[in-house]
């Protein structure tokens, strides 16, 4: 395989042990997820947001005014960048982040109690609605937090923080017997 030389996930050491059956509260780490940052030019934020939001398989994660992380479950990194370039049509800068970030998906009935140990945001279902997202601190680690389903949240961190965040989330979830594994 051509990319053998860099084909090592940031959490390969941490998640090396044999997978145990997942508990009610479970942490999934995407092996390779495709995402890119999009930064709109001045005055183009709303046009860019609408263009990307019109594509159902692209997920917009708010990170600042006129700036998003765009996550895709179907595209390859080069495909996503090309697709976003076409959609934005010169109205935004697009930078691939697929190898630079790690996605954690935390799901289960106690997901809010677990996250509340590290994140100072209102996570009530009425306050943090499905599709909502925000940049925040989890402990001391900057994360992008998004609610993707009823009791499912995704945390996106820079790759070099992945091991620290993994350790933190494991501790935060210990009281709820949180399990963890690669999702694919």
């Amino acid at each position: 395989m051509v990319r053998d030389y860099n084909n090592r996930h940031a959490l390969e050491q941490k998640l090396r042990s044999a997978p145990t059956p997942s508990a009610a509260d479970h942490l999934m780490v995407g092996h390779w997820r495709t995402m890119a940052t999009v930064l709109a030019r001045t005055g183009q934020a709303e046009a860019v947001r609408q263009a990307i939001a019109s594509v159902p398989e692209l997920s917009l994660r708010f990170s600042g005014p006129g700036e998003w992380l765009v996550v895709s479950e179907v595209e390859a990194p080069s495909g996503l960048v090309r697709r976003l370039g076409e959609l934005c049509d010169g109205r935004a800068h697009v930078v691939d982040q697929s190898d630079g970030r790690v996605v954690f998906r935390l799901a289960g009935p106690n997901v809010r109690s677990i996250l509340a140990k590290g994140i100072g945001l209102d996570l009530h279902p009425a306050a943090f609605t499905i599709g909502g997202s925000a940049n925040a601190l989890c402990g001391h680690i900057p994360v992008n937090l998004a609610r993707t389903d009823e009791d499912t949240f995704e945390l996106i961190v820079p790759r070099s923080y992945a091991e620290s965040l993994f350790d933190d989330l494991t501790k935060m979830g210990r009281a709820f017997d949180l399990t963890a594994a690669f999702s694919d």
């Binding site: 990170s63 600042g64 005014p65 100072g120 209102d122 925000a134 940049n135 925040a136 601190l137 900057p142």
Partner: protein
């Protein structure tokens, strides 16, 4: 968490997410202004008690610079605006 700042982009956030960058009420001197003016601007700091304007950088959120008007004694926050918006209003 006693100190909460309402970021215009991110909503109510704890102060741990911010870095305070000092006095926002002073304008930058012109490039050829006197050494005294530049010395004042770069090195001389007031330490006021009461209502002040400060630059707060939302490092762990939207990463925008904000101008926060607050009381340094009580930490009552009067207003928070994006620094670009603050500059636009000041220029008018």
């Amino acid at each position: 968490m006693a100190s909460l700042i309402t970021c215009p982009h991110c909503g109510l956030r704890p102060k741990e997410e911010f870095a305070i960058r000092g006095d926002a009420s002073r304008g930058r001197p012109e490039p050829m202004d006197s050494d005294e003016a530049w010395h004042d601007y770069v090195y001389v700091r007031a330490n006021p008690r009461g209502r002040t304007l400060e630059h707060w950088h939302h490092v762990a959120g939207c990463r925008r610079f904000l101008v926060v008007e607050r009381d340094t004694a009580t930490h009552e926050v009067y207003s928070v605006v994006d620094a670009a918006e603050f500059a636009r209003r000041a220029a008018q």
